[in-house]
Symmetry: C4
Subunit: 196 residues, 4 copies
C-alpha cells in the first residue's frame, strides 16, 4: 500500500483542521456599527486567541510528530490506516471544543471539554505510535534512544493532559494556561517528539 497517499491524505486533514480553527473566532455582531463599538467588541474577543493559538500549536506539533513517525514507516497496513483515521477523527474534531472555549471563555465545562479532547488526542496518537513501534513497522521508531524512555514519553503526554483536564473542573483558567504551556513546551527543539 502506498505510504505517500496516506501521508498526503493525513496532511490534508491536518492542514484543513488547522485552518478551520479561524471560523471558531466570532466576528462581533454590532448594533450600531460604530467604530467605538467595534473596538470594544474586538478587545473583548481577544481572549479567543488563546484557544486558537493553543489548538494551532497542538495540531502543528502532532503534525510534526506524525511527519517524523511516518518518515521511518516502511509498510502501511490496515491497522495503521485505521488507527491513523482514528487520530484524524480527533484532529478534525478539535475546531469544535476550540470554538466552545473561545465563545464561552474558561468555564469549568468548556475547559474540561477542551482538555478531554486533547487527552483523547494524546491517547490516540500514542496508540498509533505503540502499534507501529511494537510491530516494528518503522525504522526510525527503533533506531535512536532506548525503548523505556520512548514509552515513557508517549505515556507522559496523555497523563499531563488528563491532569490538566481534572484541574479544569476547579480552576478552568489555570487548566487553559497549562494546555497553552504544554503546547509551547513541546515546541522547544530538543524536546522534539512531542505532545504525547
Amino acid at each position: 500500500m502506498n505510504k505517500g497517499r496516506a501521508e498526503s491524505f493525513s496532511d490534508g486533514v491536518f492542514a484543513f483542521a488547522i485552518t478551520l480553527l479561524v471560523l471558531g473566532i466570532q466576528i462581533p455582531d454590532l448594533k450600531t456599527g460604530s467604530n467605538q463599538e467595534l473596538r470594544e467588541a474586538l478587545i473583548r474577543s481577544l481572549p479567543q486567541l488563546v484557544p486558537y493559538v493553543t489548538s494551532f500549536a497542538t495540531i502543528g506539533i502532532i503534525w510534526l510528530n506524525h511527519h517524523s513517525m511516518f518518515h521511518g514507516v516502511e509498510r502501511v497496513e490496515h491497522t495503521t490506516l485505521t488507527l491513523n483515521l482514528l487520530l484524524l477523527l480527533v484532529v478534525a474534531f478539535i475546531p469544535y471544543p476550540t470554538a466552545v472555549l473561545g465563545r464561552y471563555g474558561a468555564l469549568p465545562t468548556s475547559a474540561f471539554l477542551y482538555g478531554t479532547v486533547l487527552t483523547i488526542l494524546g491517547v490516540t496518537y500514542s496508540s498509533l505510535w505503540w502499534h507501529i513501534f511494537r510491530r516494528g513497522l518503522s525504522t526510525s521508531a527503533s533506531d535512536k534512544g532506548d525503548t523505556r524512555r520512548k514509552i515513557q514519553r508517549h505515556i507522559i503526554g496523555p497523563v499531563l493532559y488528563s491532569i490538566a483536564t481534572l484541574v479544569a473542573l476547579r480552576f478552568p483558567r489555570v487548566s487553559v494556561l497549562i494546555y497553552f504551556l504544554l503546547a509551547a513546551f513541546y515546541f522547544i527543539p530538543t524536546q522534539h517528539p512531542g505532545p504525547v
Copy 2:
C-alpha cells in the same frame, strides 16, 4: 493522463469533506452563559457525535477503498474521471445530511435523507468500480479473488444501505444504528474492500 493528480484532487475532496463535518455540530447558543447551562447544552448535543463519527468512518472507508482501487489503475480516461467526479460530488455533499441528522435528531425524514445519500454514495462507488473492472483498467481489480464474489460485494453494500433507508421511515433510531454498524463492520480488516 496523470493518475497522480486525479488521486491528489480526490484526496483533497475526501480530506476536506471529512474535516468539514465538524461544522455541522452546533455550538450551543446560550442565554445566560452560565457553566450549568453550557454543561446541559453540551450533554444534550452529545447525540450529534453519532452522525459525525458515522460519516467520518464512511468517508474514511470510501477513501481507503478508493485508494486501493486506484492503486492498480493504469490508465485514467475520461469516463473514469467523470465517474470519479460524480463520486466526489456525493462525498462533498455528505456534510449536509450529517448536519441535518445531527441538528434534528433521528426523525424519519432526517434518517431517510441520510440513508438516501449513503445509498447513492454506494451506487456511485460501485459504478466507478464496475467501469474500471469491466474495462480492465486496473490490475488490482482483476488479480485476486473470483469475479462473482467481487460483484456480489459491490452490490450488497448499496442494498443494505437502501434497506436501512426504508427502515428509517418507521424506526429512524434503528436505521441510524444500522448506518453506524455498517461503517464499523467495514472497518474490520478481513472485510476490507468496503462499504459498497
Copy 3:
C-alpha cells in the same frame, strides 16, 4: 520553477472550493422541529441542488481542463502563475454566487450574478490558455488539432455564458437551465477540452 507545486496548490483550491459549495445549502431552521415540518422544509430546499450540482460540475470541468493544459506545460513563469492565481481567485469565489442563487432562487439578480461570475471564469481560463498557447509554453497545446478551432473553442465558452447571463435579466429560470446544460454538455467526452 517547480510545476508540481503550482499544480498541487491549484488542485487544493479546486478541491476546497468544490467542497465548500455544500455550506451554501441552508440547513432548514425549524420552529417546531416536527418531522412534517422538516420534510416540507427539505422539499422546499430541493431546488438548491441545481446550483450546487451546476457549480460542482463547472469547477470539475475547469479542473479537468486545467489538468490537461498543465500536463503539457514545460515552464511555469511569473505571468502563468499570476494568471493562474487570477483563475483561482474566481474559482474560490464561486461558492458565493452559488449560495445566493440557492438561497433566493432564480431571481433576475441572482441568476445574473451567477452568470457574470461564470463568464468571468471563462474569460480568465481562456486568458490563461491563450498566454500558454501564444508563448508556446505547453507541448500539448500545440500538437493536436488546428489552431483556429482551438481559438474558437476558447472564445465560444465565454460568449455562451455571457448570452445566458443576459437572458437572466428577463428569464432567470431559463438562464439557470442553460448554465446547467452547458456544464452537462462539456462533460460529454468527445467535446472534452471544456467549458471555456
Copy 4:
C-alpha cells in the same frame, strides 16, 4: 526531514486559507426576498470584494515567495519548521480580519486590525527568510543579487505595512487603498520576491 511534506502541508494551509476567504463575504439577509431588495443588497456589499481580493492577492504572493524560498532549501530542520508553522498561523488567521473589514467597512478599528495582521505576516515571513538566509539553508537565497538589497527588501515590506496600519487610525479608506496597492505592486514580475 522530508522537504516535500512540509511544502505540501504549507500548500494545503495556503490553499485552504485563500479559499476560506469567500465565507467572509456575507450573503444578504433579505426581508421580502424581492429582486429589487436583492439587487440593492448585493450592490451595497460590493465593497466587500476589496478586502477579499486584497487578502487573496496577499496570500497568493506569500505563497509564490514561499514557493521560491523553499525551492532552494536543502535541509528542513526544527527551527525552520517552527517558523514556518508560525507563518501558517498568521496566514490561517487572515480570513478573520478580512471578514471584519468586509462586514463593517473601512472603520479605523477594522482597517487597523487588518493592517496589524498583514504587518505581523510580513514580520513572520521575513523572520523565516532571515533564518534560512543566515544559516545558509537555501541555495537560491544566496546565489543571486547582493545581500544588502535582499535584506532591505525583507525589511521594507513590514515597514510599509506598519505605516499603512498607522494611517488607518486616521484615514481608514486610504489605508485599505494602500494595502490593495501594495498587493498589486508586488504582483509586477520584476519586483517579484514579494510583499515582505
